[in-house]
């Protein structure tokens, strides 16, 4: 049997391109991310018919339209619950979630810890441009714009709802992800596309919930965190970093020396909710409708 020739369909990155042309601005970081995703999907040989790409709302969340798989473009901030529902209903499907920093860390922030607790086998790719792109340039939870005095010269058009700078500290999505005990936590960068493709490949292959936060600069609305900015400040995760050591992962993420790119934290053997539910279904004694009613007869 093992010898029997099996026709294995081998997909190329281009097979994941849909007919819709991305509507992103020229120079948007999301193009690089999309290409990395095509590559990762090919590397994992995902069948487009058995794959669903789920998103919320935002520039980045338009991505499902640009891949040839099944897609679910939901409402703002709710991609994770929707994706979890898909995975729990049909564990054999490949489920990939994409979206923006606003979508995932602001309005969607309440779902992240709970998705981490469930650890479904889905891959979550955040295109982190440190700004709200689609609504044209407001602070996001990852924006870094310190408060300034009213007299200062900062261009108020750049940060539209915080013209004098933000009164809020940015979050650190990686530290937060480790604290939530997400079982695969990585950082990528749109302008390091091969590495990003590799991280996505690992994330898709990882059995459990994988979060890849990818810097994906928005040249239209964020002139602070540009591609240049990140090119200068990112560095590869040191080779000797042990991602399975949580405290070390925190230490790496907290360090002040720029942004490490690569796999930062990994928790092995964390059970996935779809497996636990399958276990319950399989260990249950099947029942007929009549048997169910019988409990209440008297």
């Amino acid at each position: 049997m093992a010898q029997a020739a099996e026709i294995v369909q081998v997909f190329q990155p281009k097979d994941y391109k849909s007919d819709l042309k991305p509507i992103w601005c020229a120079g948007c970081g999301d193009f690089g991310v999309l290409n990395a995703l095509y590559k990762a999907m090919a590397a994992c040989n995902l069948d487009p018919n058995n794959t669903v790409v789920v998103s919320g709302i935002g520039c980045s969340s338009r991505l499902p339209g640009f891949v040839s798989t099944y897609g679910f473009h939901g409402v703002h901030g709710r991609a994770l619950p929707i994706a979890t529902g898909i995975k729990l209903a049909r564990p054999e499907l490949n489920v990939i979630v994409v979206g923006g920093d606003g979508d995932g860390y602001s309005i969607g922030a309440g779902h992240l810890p709970h998705c981490a607790r469930r650890n479904p086998d889905i891959t979550y790719l955040i295109m982190n441009n440190n700004v709200y792109g689609l609504t044209k340039g407001q602070v996001s939870p990852t924006s870094t714009i310190p408060l300034i005095s009213l007299q200062s010269k900062q261009d108020p058009k750049r940060w539209k709802t915080t013209p004098y700078g933000s009164t809020e500290d940015p979050i650190d999505p990686i530290v937060q992800a480790i604290a939530h005990d997400i079982s695969f936590v990585a950082r990528g960068f749109s302008y390091k596309p091969n590495q990003l493709a590799d991280l996505l490949t690992q994330g898709i292959r990882h059995k459990g919930f994988a979060l890849i936060d990818a810097f994906s600069p928005c040249p239209t609305f964020n002139q602070d965190q540009t591609d240049e900015f990140y090119k200068e400040r990112t560095y590869d995760v040191p080779l000797d970093h042990d991602p399975t050591n949580k405290l070390k992962a925190f230490e790496l993420a907290l360090s002040d020396e720029g942004f490490p790119i690569g796999l930062i934290y990994k928790k092995e053997r964390k059970v996935s909710v779809q497996d636990e539910l399958a276990f319950l279904r399989e260990s249950a004694v099947p029942q007929s409708l009549d048997q169910m009613f019988a409990h209440f007869m008297s």
């Binding site: 487009p48 409402v75 779902h111 029942q287």
Partner: protein, 615 residues
């Protein structure tokens, strides 16, 4: 030890055919378990049961009330005045005692309080604690000191004995029940409880002998086939499973949580799963994901949770995803009165959407109907590919009722329209194909060549975003056309006509004085009330509407045309159903609406009907 008590057949027994018992006392002090026990016994006696409970919002403390009506024929409501009131504390009596009928019987725990006496009623003192303690003392020597310490005095059983005696019921079935219940605790405990049963009975018997007053007598029907004893939440959950629901996600909320509790236990046995979400938005989100993936799915909540789902329900309507959303309505706006009932969420179900996307709204009418309405909900969701909001309510959800086993051969299951593989190959695939019915074949992930992006953005037949005025018009019309298709295909199946208690054909309704049109859990009480009016010579008919959106307009207008006056009774503040009729129909009517947290009682509807018939 068990001493036979002969019932004095000479004492006065009302010849009413049913009896209404009401228990009230401190929450957590056994009111609910005594009620449940009593229900059990009455069911075993072959009687029909219909309960009504109100809980305090507190976990412990506060006053709980448990009303049981038992009849020889099918019970349609929890009744009007109470025949026997069992007050376990003073608060219970003062809060809920006013429903005791004139000449009714008040049993009170004389260890706890003594009511101000009232000439109109009969009062029986029952020192429940003392009697129970005596029984415990009696077995002291037969159990270990350890066991004795943990042994609660059998207060419930004392109460049960008294209650059974009061309604003239034999004690044998209760004896058998108590034996089974305590068998594994050993003979001593079994005998203590049997003795307690008789002790309670004897204590009341003595007083009955002296006053000659007993409650209405209901004759046991021991030859009854077995029936189900269930509440609305349970029946609804069973309907969902029977309809093919295999995924549930929800967030706890009173009074809907029980649905999830039921499904969490049962679904795995049917190859399905239930997941507690972090909030209601996530719950419905998971459901939409699961439906998109091809699995039938449901969530249940109450007002506050349904409010949080508004955006997500709209996504389902706009992107044509089947999903069932149960709203077990509770009392009050905002956090309101979580343990009380209302029909106040009709507006939200109909209109709770920004801009407009289609949804179907249905409401079950009785505990039995909870089963069928759940089945209908799934069928409608699958057939018309849209959210279905099912409006139950607290009274219906917690109402225990003896019902027939639903005839499962009548179960018809509708599956959503799927594209044919051949067709996809030949013609490609358009998820939102514009069709005469508005219904488009829906692919599910895994179908080759039928990929599409499900989206809440306005979109063309392929699902691609578009904003032209033409597209906006055409695609909205397409989606709402499904509701027109539904109205035509389903309208007549979702109305029921009654003359008095009995179902009738619309053809048999002619020249009626008062026609009652209503929806939801008020069906039984209206049937009982109109029967009473008919018995007194009034001309009454009743139409109950189970499909609220799309509304069966033709059927409603036809019914109304046969009635001189139409009455719309409902349990909410502004008359939401009446207003919905104003929007959709030309009919004229009188309204009766209020929203005080309690279900209607038959007398109230009867009064309203007869006042309209007269005027």
């Amino acid at each position: 030890m068990t001493q036979e008590i002969k019932v004095n057949e000479a004492v006065e027994v009302s010849n009413s055919t049913d009896v209404v018992l009401r228990l009230a006392g401190e929450s957590g002090e056994g009111v609910v378990s005594l009620g449940d026990l009593t229900v059990q016994m009455l069911v075993q006696m072959g009687l029909d049961i219909y309960t009504f409970q109100t809980f305090p919002a507190e976990i412990k403390g506060g006053t709980v009330m448990y009303q049981i009506r038992a009849t020889e024929s099918t019970t349609l409501s929890h009744g009007d005045a109470v025949d026997v009131f069992v007050a376990l504390n003073r608060d219970g009596f003062s809060l809920f005692g006013d429903s005791l009928r004139e000449n009714g019987i008040l049993v009170y725990d004389s260890d706890v309080f003594t009511p101000d006496s009232d000439a109109g009623r009969t009062e029986y003192a029952l020192p429940i604690s003392t009697l129970a303690l005596n029984e415990k003392q009696a077995v002291r020597s037969r159990v270990s000191p350890e066991q004795l310490k943990r042994l609660p005095p059998p207060k419930n059983i004392v109460g049960l004995g008294a209650l059974l005696r009061l309604v003239n019921a034999p004690l044998e079935p209760a004896e058998q029940y108590v034996k089974d219940l305590f068998a594994r605790k050993g003979d001593a405990i079994v005998e203590m409880n049997i003795s307690a049963l008789h002790s309670g009975a004897r204590h009341i018997s003595e007083q009955i002998e002296s006053t000659g007053k007993r409650a209405p007598k209901v004759t046991p029907r021991f030859d009854m086939p077995k029936r189900l004893t269930l509440n609305g939440n349970q029946m609804l959950a069973m309907g969902a499973i029977s309809a093919g629901c295999r995924f549930y996600s929800g967030y706890p909320i009173t009074p809907a949580t029980e649905i999830m509790e039921f499904l969490a236990k049962e679904l795995p046995r049917f190859g399905g799963s239930a997941v507690q979400a972090e909030d209601e938005i996530s719950a419905l989100g998971m459901c939409l994901g699961s439906s998109y993936a091809g699995v039938k799915t449901m969530t249940a909540s109450s007002g506050p949770g349904i409010s949080l789902m508004v955006e997500m329900i709209n996504l389902a309507g706009q992107s044509e995803l089947p999903v069932v959303i149960v709203d077990v309505q509770r009392g009050g706006a905002s956090t309101g009165m979580p343990t009380k009932t209302s029909q106040g969420d009709l507006n939200l179900a109909l209109y709770g959407v920004h801009n407009e996307s289609p949804r179907i709204v249905i409401a079950p009418t009785s505990v039995t109907d909870c089963f069928w309405t759940a089945v209908d909900a799934f069928n409608l969701a699958e057939a018309y590919q849209c959210p279905v909001i099912l409006l139950s309510d607290q009274a219906l959800a917690t109402r225990k009722s003896t019902i027939e086993h639903p005839d499962l051969t009548q179960l018809e299951i509708i599956e959503r329209l799927k594209p044919e593989a051949e067709d996809i190959l030949k013609n490609g695939y358009l998820r939102f194909l514009d069709t005469p019915s508005g219904i488009s074949p829906m692919s599910i992930p895994g179908m080759p060549g039928a990929q599409y992006v499900n989206t809440g953005i306005e979109h063309d037949e392929a699902g691609d975003p578009g904003y032209t005025p033409e597209l906006a018009t055409v695609s909205k019309e397409k989606r709402f056309r499904k509701l027109e298709t539904c109205r035509i295909e389903q309208g007549s199946k979702f109305v029921r006509y009654f003359v008095g208690r009995d179902e009738a054909m619309i053809e048999s309704i002619q020249d009626t004085d008062v026609g009652v049109i209503a929806f939801g859990s008020t069906e039984g009480v209206i049937r009982e009330a109109s029967q009473r009016a008919i018995n007194e010579g009034f001309s009454v008919a009743h139409m109950h509407v189970r499909l609220l959106n799309p509304l069966p307009i033709a059927q409603i207008e036809q019914f109304a045309s046969k009635c001189k006056t139409v009455l719309i009774p409902e349990l909410n503040f502004s008359g939401q159903f009446a207003n919905w009729l104003r929007v959709n129909t030309e009919i004229e009517f009188e309204t009766h609406h209020k929203d005080e947290g309690l279900p209607f009682i038959p007398n109230e509807i009867y009064q309203k009907i007869t006042s309209l018939a007269v005027s």
